[in-house]
Amino acid sequence: MLRATLKSLLSRKLRLVLSALAVVLGVMFVSGSFVLTDTLNRSFTDLFTNVYSGVDVSVTAKEKAGSPGTLPATMVDRVEAVNGVEKAVGQVNGSARAIGKNGKVLTTAGAPRLGFAWTGDESQIEMRDGTGPKTDTQVTINAFLASTGGFKVGDQIELITLEPKKKFTVAGIFGYPGGRDSLGGELSAGFTEPVAQQLLLGQKDTFTDIKVTAAAGTSQDQLRDRLSSELGGDYVVKTGTQLAKDQADQIQEGLKFFNYILLAFAGIALFVGIFIILNTFSIIVAQRTRELALLRSMGASRGQVIGSVVLEAFVIGLIASVVGLGAGFGVGALLANFFATFGGGNLKLAGIGLPMSAVISSFAVGIVVTLIAAVMPALRASRIAPVAAMREAATPDRPLTRPTVAGALILAAGGTAMGFGFVQQSLVLIFGGVLAAFVGVALLTPLVSRPMVSLIGRLLSWSMPGLLGRRNSARNPRRTAITAAALMVGIALITGVSVVLTSATASITKLADTQVRSDLIISGETGADGTSAHFAVDTIDKIKAKPGVRSAFGFAGEPALVNDEQSWVSSVTDVLAMQQQFGLQAKEGTFAPLGATQMAISEDYATQKNLKLGSTMRIQLAKGEATTFTVAFVWAKSQVMQGMVLSSSAIEHLRIPQLNNAFVQVNSGASVTDVQKSIEPFFADNPEVSVQDRSAFVKQQTSQFDTVLLMIQILLALAIIIAVLGVINTLALSVIERTRELGLLRAIGMRRAQVMRMITVESIVISVFGAVLGIAVGTALGVATVAALKDEGITELGFPWMTMVQYLVVAAVVGVVAAILPAIRAARLNVLDAIAYE
């Protein structure tokens, strides 16, 4: 029996390859994710070990109100006086963004844009050209900034810090040992110490941290313990090793999330893979009916038949896992290199490794997925009666009652799980519900396949080959249905997300047009490195002085400690202008200018935090003492503005006492464009900040959805590729199955081109059927999600019509592409051999 199975397996290499390919791709995705994140993890660990290699111990002020604190200059001497300290150097670090020669701010893909005080310690760096900064108008930049912005020694460079752009001269360019331009893709500029303190910290004679070198004979740990006991609890003392580990851990946390996302998409790809393998095995079992029946009639037991199919699946799963693991290693290495070169920019990769997690998950996933897919066909194979060996035709089509009932039940269960998932905000329930819904729909698909296929096919059957193709696709509803259902999954997910995003865009646009009276919005871009742009508070007064401006106000926000919990705190310059432009209504109390220790809150916030008029909260901002704020009024529920605001007097206590954004309303009759032109010059020296009218602002805000959609499409491409493999597989197996028919058609005069057209039509019908299913299911998922998110502000329902049409067209193209190989194979059949084919 074992030998018979293996022989049968080997004699059908093509179908082995095709069904294994689906698993290979899924496993590749899984192992590739692990290899990628593992390599990046180790690279970042190396990076931070390198960064902190010159630091024995570092002293920083305890974090205050969620923002890093600063140290007075006197602390340096205090630290240096401690026994065992060889040297203590005050460091200044902050954000400094250079402006490129085209006037735009230079960005990174996530690495920081740093400004620092040049300490003259060149042990960690290599000077490439020039010197350190000698005067207050000089900077020395790293080679990566020099190459990114095209700067040479002697060039002018503009930098944005806490203050708007300032002009400097490049005094020197430095790199790192090993010819590296940066440590990990960061852009950095070193100022003289006083300039760095003023521009990066906003305060003379302060430092962000003190880098301590231990005297000979004192270990890092000893020095740390000594410093913490000498300095007291207001300071954080860490060893360089600890700092490197902390930073690496933080990055690893982010990468872990990234890995989960990749694995989720790998899961979807494998889910689709199950459909393909299931279908392949079903077809193979159907084609082997006589062979299996012969084995049965010769005395093979049911168990042996099941074993034979399961063994075949196991071998395929095993081979696919090995190949997928290898391919995943390659893909992971490729992506890591891509990330290092383009994504992170200049990250030095640690060697590509094969983590155990990749090996284990590859084999587990590859084999388990294949076995799951083979269970049903194996059971079916075991039910083949021995007498089938003597019969001419294959088993007739079984009734669709059972799959239909099962499908309806599973679909209902999936829908219920999704509903609970939304209520309990459980991603696992939602995701599981969606997958169950897919399975349910897939089981229901054979039922709708006959009418649907005949409808789609009618569009393509103007000629005889077209008609035959259409009839062939309607021939085996289960086979067509599963093949189409595989394609459905990917398209449904994209359509679902697309419906939600389109609805969100529609909701935001409607909200902005109906409830926001601001005509102009001033906002800054947020860099990939987390820096946000800001501008001076007095800009608001300058704007208000311009003719045509009715009102203007701005927000400044930062994390702070609210009742000892870290939370985001906003300050508004003019609460009345906010009320007026955002159309807010008072719920408790009345809108009035806020006093220095007063706050205003939204109804939602009041309910959530159990606050009312006159309640107090203790808020510790970045600077100054903790203050008790009293609720002066509560505004009624609003889609535009939720949360809490402090008075404008709180702004000066923020770490960055500047505004993040501002809103301007013009007088009725005044031209928005004219006002925009008149206030734009205020931001001429701040290219990170832009003034936009309302619709442009909304468009910019919603354009990020396009990026989300694009990312999802790219990640789902694999699921769709696997589905296309499924179409190819089904067609190829059908071609084999219908060899005699093809031979007959050729014998009675069908041209090769006509044979190819016939196969292509069948392929297009299956693909378009899958796309139609996907769009329908995706729309249902999207509508359900939008309904569930009604309270989150998605009040409008929008449909991405263009996108849907595109998917249909893509599906037709996919159908044509998938048909190429099977069609060529069919057309190349030798007529005589085909007629004689058993």
């Binding site: 005889m464 062939n472 058609l745 041209r751």
Partner: protein, 249 residues
């Protein structure tokens, strides 16, 4: 060649498979003409080359040496496109089994060669053929709803409906019981006699061969005998001699 009285002919046709020592010669210089409007049967024991001869005549297989003609068309040397058109327009086929497309109705199967070629159906001729094979009330049935004999009659109708130069039938009764077989053979005979359809049939059944106007006998790749207006007994007698002849070699 291509004289008006000949529908198909082979001129010194050789066919061998393989090469060197392993080469097998299936046809060793066969020359034969099939006159128009006649029903010819090709007989011979297994391995005599009768099927090969038919395949070569029909353009399903190429010859190693010699020439094959269908009507005025020289089949030898035609490329796939030419062969396809030849099969579509000038040749009809009836095979032993699995003759029909399961997705099409009987009527669609019959008109398939015309549909493939984009030609119109001659309704009058179609009706004549249908009535002759007696399938009028089965036209909308699918092949699985027809008996074996009915299926084979559909295949015969399909071969005739495009009025080809020659209909080639490869053991058309091989899979049928004797009564259904007789119906099919009777129909083929009638087609030749009443409609003037040239028919070439390969068979190993003397009784089937007796429906033909002429029987040619093949052995070891050569034509060794021929009978006009055969009876089953005459054919059987000749076959016996043939076996003796083959045995003597």
């Amino acid at each position: 060649m291509g004289t008006s009285g000949v529908a198909a002919s082979a001129v010194d046709v050789w066919k061998s498979y393989g090469s060197g020592d392993a080469a097998v010669t299936a046809l060793a210089g066969v020359s034969v003409e099939f006159e128009r409007e006649r029903f010819t049967a090709i007989m011979g024991p297994s391995g005599s080359g009768k099927s090969t001869l038919m395949h070569c005549l029909a353009g399903l297989d190429d010859v190693t040496k010699g020439e094959v003609w269908i009507g005025d068309t020289k089949v030898t040397g035609l490329k796939d496109k030419g062969l396809t058109e030849l099969r579509r327009d000038q040749v009809g086929f009836v095979f032993q089994q699995f003759n029909l497309l399961p997705t099409l109705t009987a009527e669609e199967n019959i008109t398939l060669p015309l549909a493939i070629g984009g030609r119109k159906v001659d309704r009058a001729w179609f009706d004549t053929v249908i009535d002759t094979v007696g399938l009028r009330d089965r036209l909308s049935h699918r092949p699985t709803q027809l008996s074996g004999g009915q299926q084979q009659r559909v295949a015969c109708a399909r071969a005739l409906v495009s009025r080809p130069e020659v209909v080639f039938a490869d053991e058309p009764t091989g899979n049928l019981d004797s009564r259904s077989g007789a119906e099919v053979l009777g129909f083929l005979q009638k087609s030749a006699r009443e409609f003037g359809q040239t028919i070439v049939m390969v068979t190993h059944d003397p009784n089937a061969a007796s429906y033909a106007d002429r029987v040619i006998f093949l052995a070891d790749g050569l034509i060794v005998n021929e009978i006009l207006d055969p009876t089953a007994d005459a054919v059987l007698e000749t076959m016996k001699h043939l076996d003796a002849f083959v045995g003597a070699q």
